[in-house]
């Protein structure tokens, strides 16, 4: 069903690239493509990304937030390919693999290749470790945090912060895992695509964090907004526009506007600290920014969000003497084990790059031995596709 919309939109982009030679008009049309999903979200046609199970509206709009942005980006960056090889462009746009959760295929492959089983199997030999890691993140680690997400209901200071941390982990394993799965399948079929995550918890500042999280969207935002605006309005204002656009892409709601504002603010402070080499301060800002950002991200109900803010800002409301939901340990045995593994992986992600810069893109989890051990654990504890991509479908 999604082809009913995606193909005409792609054709419209091809038409613009062929008929219009004015860069400004092409840029405006690209921005319009980017803002299709915020507009649809505003009018309630598609859901807001709450971080919990995506609000799926209709198969007609399936993946629109991804392919509309992709069309805008390709129109701006690769208009020559749109003119010379429109079919390749359409195939890149409608490729269903990235429509569940990304990553965006940033390049259009112009080489004409037919499916070759021999090449496919060769690629599988290498790429299976990424696929295994993706499935492990998505279907084993991420769902284990589910029972702990109940903390969202609480307005006690410790619970609010704990929820921020747990929700960050939950989103990370779900989103990074699904991205790895999509990336692996695209690579298996020879589609050139960037990895969406590069160990975000290895980051040492908020600036660094955003270079490691949802990389494909960051690349697009950089090309569409940052590079164009920076020479005109300066780095700080450009960053503000980038985060605001990113926020609107996630959802046209108060919480996302606050999220965009706060993250751009923290990014600017972080950039200032980086220039002055304030490493420790930058690290604390990263921890605080990521947790607070995630709390804001999760709360679509403005009243509850403001109540949480009140608790965070009013020390007299901080209460440490209460029975937290987490104290009853809502996790079963296998979930506890999985959560411990997840925490160990995050610990490794933080520590290993400090020991050697060669640890990147989870290569320490993709070595043949470690990958086999993960696969063994995965096969023994797999009990179905028990989670949805929290970042996609719309």
């Amino acid at each position: 069903m999604y082809l009913i919309l995606s193909i005409p939109l792609s054709l419209f982009a091809i038409f613009i690239s062929r008929k219009i030679n004015n860069d400004i008009i092409i840029s405006i049309v690209s921005y319009l493509f980017f803002f299709i999903s915020p507009i649809l979200t505003y009018f309630g046609v598609i859901g807001v990304l709450t971080g919990f199970d995506s609000i799926y509206s209709s198969s007609l709009y399936f993946g629109i937030s991804f392919y509309s942005v992709n069309i805008g980006y390709q129109l701006l960056k690769n208009s020559e390919i749109l003119k010379s090889n429109p079919l390749k462009f359409i195939i890149t746009v409608i490729n269903p693999l990235y429509l569940f959760t990304g990553p965006f295929p940033n390049q259009i492959s112009t080489k004409s290749k037919f499916f070759n089983l021999k090449i496919f199997l060769k690629r599988l030999e290498i790429i299976n470790s990424e696929l295994i890691l993706g499935v492990f993140f998505t279907f084993i680690l991420a769902p284990s945090f589910n029972p702990l997400l109940k903390l969202k209901e609480s307005t006690e200071i410790v619970d609010i912060f704990l929820f921020g941390v747990i929700f960050e982990f939950y989103v990370y394993f779900n989103f990074a895992g699904f991205s790895m799965i999509a990336w692996s399948f695209m690579r298996l079929f020879g589609i050139s695509v960037k990895r969406n995550f590069n160990q975000p918890f290895s980051a040492t500042s908020i600036v660094d964090y955003w270079q490691r999280w949802h990389i494909s969207l960051s690349t697009i935002l950089k090309e569409l907004f940052f590079k164009k605006l920076k020479p005109k309005i300066g780095i700080y204002n450009s960053v503000f526009i980038v985060f605001l656009s990113s926020a609107l892409w996630h959802g046209v709601t108060i919480n996302f506007l606050i999220w965009g504002f706060i993250h751009s603010f923290f990014w600017c402070i972080s950039y200032y600290f980086l220039k002055r080499n304030f490493k420790v301060l930058n690290y604390f800002l990263l921890l605080f920014g990521v947790i607070v950002g995630r709390i804001i991200f999760s709360e679509i109900d403005t009243e509850i969000l403001f109540n949480k803010f009140k608790v965070l800002l009013n020390i007299s409301q901080w209460n440490f003497n209460y029975a937290s939901e987490i104290a009853t340990n809502p996790l079963g045995n296998s979930q506890t084990l999985n959560v411990l593994i997840a925490i160990l992986l995050i610990f490794l992600e933080i520590i290993l790059p400090k020991l050697s810069k060669s640890y990147k893109y989870y290569n320490y989890l993709r070595t043949p031995l470690v990958s086999s051990l993960i696969f063994l654990f995965l096969c023994f504890s797999f009990s179905g596709f028990n989670t949805n991509p929290i970042y996609g479908n719309r």
């Binding site: 399936f62 086999s372 096969c379 023994f380």
Partner: protein, 283 residues
């Protein structure tokens, strides 16, 4: 050397995958123990009284013990995932339910599309899911080492004993257009199920109960109105429908938008009991 190492470990991975596939294939045969619930619910049998059947909304959300108190004997035959595996479920009921009076609380009644068409793009995914064992190898090993430790426990009435509410409470939502458009198909399916149940249990009277859902106040009336249209269509097809609270905005009664918590179970069981008492049954 590096390539050799990759090839060597890839062989190990194929072996692991092979083990899992063998497990999955065995799991999909009749030799497998599918539902641990069924083991503990296998002893339930009812010849006279009220058989309450349905999915997790019955398993977790109704208490046959409460309904039985100072009333006709009732047993809870609710089993999770009844919605999608009705043909399997009636096999389970065969020989266990031979009473004249059945209350069926189908989750399916809230569907917006026929089974398998809920999300067309997920269809193939769902088919694949059916092959994947929902009990992991690790859980099976644990079961061998420590039998019944992971089983859900039920009392002699078939009511689930103690459960946590781990999920977050989200409001139940429907797409009005899809919901209304699918009324005909849903009514046909429910009517077919009632006929099958009559055949297999020999029951004279099968009541369809609407499982209550949790929804926020602003959407409540709109959901009720949509369901009332469906109830009207069911009644026109000769189905007896009962259900006092269809949609509730009382958070304290629910685990999630579709499953009552312990307090909710008591509330909705008493509500159903009152309806049945008003009907002046002679069983």
């Amino acid at each position: 050397m590096g390539i050799d190492k990759i090839k060597y470990f890839n062989k190990i991975k194929w072996l692991i995958l092979g083990v899992w596939l063998v497990y999955a294939i065995i799991f999909n045969t009749k030799f497998a123990v599918h539902l641990p619930i069924q083991i503990t619910k296998n002893n339930l049998k009812i010849k006279k009284g009220i058989a309450i059947i349905g999915g997790s909304n019955v398993q977790m959300g109704l208490s046959a013990e409460l309904i039985s108190t100072n009333f006709y004997e009732s047993l809870n035959f609710g089993i999770s995932s009844e919605k999608g595996t009705f043909s399997e479920y009636i096999k389970y009921l065969k020989g266990k339910v031979t009473t004249d009076f059945v209350v069926y609380s189908p989750a399916y009644i809230w569907s917006e599309a026929p089974i398998g068409q809920d999300d067309s793009y997920r269809n193939s995914f769902l088919k694949l899911s059916n092959f994947i064992p929902h009990i992991s190898i690790l859980s099976q090993i644990r079961e061998v080492i420590s039998p019944s430790s992971s089983l859900i426990k039920f009392n002699s009435f078939g009511d689930q004993e103690g459960y946590d509410c781990p999920s977050l409470l989200f409001s139940f939502k429907i797409n009005q257009q899809k919901f209304t458009n699918s009324n005909k198909v849903i009514v046909e399916e429910i009517t077919g199920r009632v006929e099958k149940l009559k055949k297999i249990t020999g029951a004279n009277k099968i009541l369809i109960r609407i499982p209550p859902v949790y929804s926020e106040e602003d959407e409540k009336m709109f959901i009720i109105k949509s369901m009332e249209l469906r109830i009207k269509a069911l009644k026109s097809a000769g189905i007896i429908v009962v259900g006092e609270t269809i949609v509730s905005s009382d958070k304290s009664l629910f685990c999630d938008n579709f499953h009552p918590n312990e307090k909710g179970r008591e509330f909705f069981s008493m509500e159903l009991k009152k309806i049945l008492q008003k009907m002046k049954l002679s069983i």
